[in-house]
Amino acid sequence: MTFPLYIILILYLIAIVFYLILSVILLYHIFRFGYWDSSTKMMVFLYFTGSLIILVSTGIYVAGINWSESVSILNNMEFNINFF
């Protein structure tokens, strides 16, 4: 059975869209009900820095992949477990 490799990328992008929507909702809560003090500023800065580090590093990795390939599964699923 084969499927195009970019399916994985599409699934990842769907997850990112959910992530961005939830981030916007969280930010809305801070601005609507919270107060823009030093701890809030620091936390929002940390959150965006962390998110950017993950997204940018993944973006760099994604750019180096050839997405036109297809994947065949259930052909070579054998591997040996060597606990001892």
Binding site: L26, Y35, M43
Partner: protein, 208 residues
């Protein structure tokens, strides 16, 4: 920080005495959970590749799935930590000289604000349970109200004993002020009644 931001319907002569949040140990717990969630998949993957003859290739389909799945996983644990912090940050108890406000964020789309007048307080109990609570000086404060069978609970707040004694002092002051105001009103009532007699009513009295 401006504590008045938390309640725009401020009463005349109302002053904020305390603005309370849960003790920092509750956000530390979320942080420790984040650290555990961060290392757990790394350890699992490391163990998997150590004990199997599976070769990890960055550009193989399995490698792509692991890296993109890992990226999504780390983004979401970061998001959950942030939502925990917002939950911690938006749960506030505001104690003023006239009332107590309990502002509670329950998840993302549920927010409860309840208030209690100082005069309604009947009983204040502070509780510190466990070694950690005793060492770090945090605990619960239970406020029993008169009239209804309702309890206000300040959960895991720092210095619960001091907070309880301050609330009792504020309650006593509020009761005293209310009593003084009632006496003043009672004294002022006959005078007001005398002044409110209209000239025509006065004339009627004279005729009789």
């Amino acid at each position: 920080m401006d504590p008045y931001k938390y309640f725009p319907d401020r009463r005349p002569n109302e002053e904020v005495v305390m603005l309370l949040r849960r003790h920092w140990h509750s956000i530390l717990r979320s942080f420790l959970l984040l650290v555990a969630e961060f290392f757990l998949p790394l350890i699992t993957i490391f163990a998997f590749f150590s004990y199997t003859d599976f070769v990890f290739e960055k550009e193989s389909p399995i490698g792509i799935m692991i890296i993109l799945g890992g990226s999504a996983y780390y983004l979401f644990i970061w998001l959950f930590f942030f939502s925990h912090w917002i939950d911690y940050y938006l749960d506030v108890w505001v104690v003023t000289n006239q009332r107590i406000l309990n502002i509670e964020q329950e998840g993302l789309f549920s927010r409860t604000i309840s208030e209690l007048n100082m005069e309604m307080i009947q009983d204040v109990t502070s509780e510190m349970k466990g070694k950690l609570a005793t060492i770090l000086n945090f605990g619960n404060v239970y406020i029993q109200t008169a009239g209804e069978q309702r309890r206000f609970i300040f959960e895991n707040i720092p210095e619960p004993r001091q907070v309880a004694s301050k609330i009792i002092a504020l309650h006593q002051k509020a009761v005293k002020e209310t009593a003084v105001q009632e006496i003043k009103d009672a004294v002022a009532k006959p005078l007001v009644a005398k002044d409110t007699i209209s000239p025509s009513q006065k004339n009627e009295t004279k005729i009789i």
